[in-house]
Symmetry: C2
Subunit: 420 residues, 2 copies
């Protein structure tokens, strides 16, 4: 298809024929902006404002403390978890929306280590394998956990996915991977990687931060052990919205985690002085949740209920294919190098190019209303979110990128600000 | 003063002369409700709705990803921490608003254990002392931490504050106390308890969940080591709003905690694969925060900026004195027993009575618009929040309580729902 797109009018035709096009109006998209950063912070569903107003005015303001029961605040982590489950190939009572991705990863990683420690070969199985290029907080949390446990666990950082086949072996306790790499957009084959690691006796923990709502996921089909993920990227839950945690049902009974707060207690309101874990997935909970931020996650999830992940994926691949093709044809010779893998089965829903002045170019793009983001080193990242990104957005973004590069119209020495 | 209050008109006079009375109009207080549960969930500042709308519509909706810098989202935990600091006798750059109380307690407790473990007598200093009657999640988190560390730490639960003098000794690593007991309202003498524990070589961690915004606090004058607390009770930050953590500056350099996520990194955007803690209090951070819930905390803090904690305390004691006196005179012989200590210096800002049918009586009170809450076993809890509780509210609440008890108009066998 991509080869037939020669003009902006061709993109308009694609938009007209896009079955997901009607969903775009459910989002607040500011005029004059082409938003290609939904992989970092999803755009706002219009409904989120109304939902927040309902929680703040009625549930908090009028019903006050009674809302813990009446509005179901206490059940929100599991109710939203059940609503999120279909997006990741999970079933009822396997997912909670709670805390941050970092904290959920800590809980699940701790539990996974404990499950492994109960096995006969525990003494020789002390390695957590992950990628040096994993999102840093995942590595930091594993470092924090293993240093505190001080039981000889070590973290083995691999530099390429190809190393997995040798790096994961009889010494591996846990393989912990981010399914879609935050920088390159590289997508692991979840099923094959999980199977190979499990054949070595490892447990597999997936971080779905850049996958949930971006690519079809089937944790059960992949026989994954644990997963965490983010709701404020492709799921459009709002800035810093609570993350999610999934535990394979076969691990529920043995699952224990050190952040054993009262929300994870079997009977939190009996006020017992001894912790006893709740049945099932609620044992992954810890303390009281930020209700307003949590409640808005539902608005993002409700939009996904109007489509399916196969349709989302079809459009995602069409958008990323088009972007790559247009950049490589129109910006040829202007210093851009594709970082993201070309094969569909190795790619998530964002595309990255390096450029020697990547930061300065991205700054200029943003100044002209094309919002992507920048990640060290030299990586310009463009996220494509099929619920609201149009094919004409792709055309216009490449047009702007081409003009900036062709005119060398960017400030090389611009002071560098943090870009979250 | 209390003895001179004989009629509702006397209470009206008190309200007319109350210097804090003008602050009440800053809150959304539903008509027909006497809200005596601000110790559990503070009432809504009117400004919170507008603040949430600003974050959702402008910062999220229009400015999108740029708000991390432009709206200062990334700095919110420390900026709000600085605004909260005066309420607890802390200084600039010593407080962050982040995560939940349970999780912050885990971080600080872990760091405190590590500081103690570096001392010469570490081998014989393995006990965490706390109260059996502490809020359960504090005990659960200590259990989670010590079981996972598996280094011989044990938790010693005392049954009365009087046991502190013998329970805290040369074997004590940490004394961890909630300053105002969640159920009884008992207030510890922070300065004396801290000094006595430190003389034994212990570090002292205070949970200020029921103190911050309720009683004057001076962590520096008390020479405390660590503190955590809640923003959704007396500080009126909103349901489940992120909690706070304070670390005495003398501990900043040694402070290390296992929840070492990217927000606690020295240079989070350089994407290094090795954790290096930020300077100062930001090393207590972990992952991305729920921005909408976090931002609303400022509205509660801004109201405190219009008064001072001495004025709040004066009114708090007047309200609780009046409530105790009226209940004991008007409801004499009706089965109520005061749980809360009478001396001012031993009392926070809520008052508890037991009744054999406490749950049923509280249920009936709530049905009649007097909202307190219930805690096992048999405890009816009434919170007095000087920013919006009136003296006539106290009169009317006791009036309703008296009628219910005198008429025995409550359903003893009502099915018991969880009350958060």
């Amino acid at each position: 298809m991509t080869n037939r797109i020669k003009t902006r009018a061709d993109c308009q035709t694609l938009d007209q024929n896009d079955p997901l096009a009607p969903l775009r109006c459910l989002f607040d998209l500011p005029p004059g902006v082409i938003y290609l950063d939904g992989n970092s912070l999803g755009a706002r569903p219009h409904a989120a404002l109304q939902r927040a107003q309902q929680v703040i005015q009625q549930e908090w303001g009028k019903d006050l403390i009674r809302s813990w029961n009446k509005a179901g605040w206490f059940e929100l982590p599991s109710r939203l978890g059940n609503k999120l489950a279909p997006l990741i190939g999970a079933a009822e009572n396997e997912v909670v929306v709670t805390d941050s991705t970092s904290i959920n990863l800590f809980k699940l990683l701790a539990a996974a280590l404990q499950i492994q420690a109960a096995k006969p070969d525990a003494a020789s199985r002390k390695v957590i394998v992950t990628e040096r290029d994993n999102f840093p907080t995942d590595i930091y949390m594993a470092q924090g956990l293993t240093e505190w446990l001080d039981r000889g666990y070590r973290i083995h950082l691999i530099d390429t996915p190809q190393e997995l086949s040798t790096a994961v072996n009889a010494e591996t306790a846990i393989l912990m991977l981010t399914h879609v790499n935050y920088r390159s957009g590289h997508l692991h084959d979840m099923q094959a990687v999980t199977r190979a690691a499990q054949e070595q006796g490892a447990l597999v923990l997936w971080d779905l931060a850049h996958s949930a709502g971006a690519v079809p996921l089937d944790l059960h089909a992949a026989n994954a052990d644990f997963a965490v993920g983010c709701t404020y990227k492709y799921i459009n839950g709002g800035p810093g919205a609570p993350a999610f945690a999934w535990i394979a049902p076969r691990h529920h009974a043995q699952f224990r985690q050190p952040l054993s707060g009262w929300w994870g207690h079997r009977a939190p309101f009996t006020m017992q002085p001894t912790f006893a874990p709740a049945e099932g997935i609620r044992r992954a909970l810890c303390g009281t949740q930020p209700i307003v931020s949590l409640a808005m996650v539902e608005c993002g999830l409700d939009i996904f209920a109007q489509t399916d992940m196969q349709a989302v994926r079809r459009k995602s691949l069409a958008l990323t294919d088009l972007f790559i093709a247009l950049v490589e044809s129109r910006c040829a010779g202007l210093g851009l190098t594709l970082v993201t893998p070309r094969p569909h089965e190795q790619r998530g829903s964002h595309v990255s190019f390096t450029h020697a002045h990547g930061y300065a170019v991205m700054r200029e793009l943003i100044a002209r209303g094309v919002i992507g983001d920048y990640r060290e080193p030299q990586v310009m990242r463009f996220g494509f979110t099929p619920l609201y990104t149009q094919f004409t957005d792709v055309w216009d973004a490449v047009d702007t990128l081409h003009r900036i590069l062709a005119d060398q119209d960017y400030e090389i020495n611009a002071p560098q600000e943090a870009v979250t």
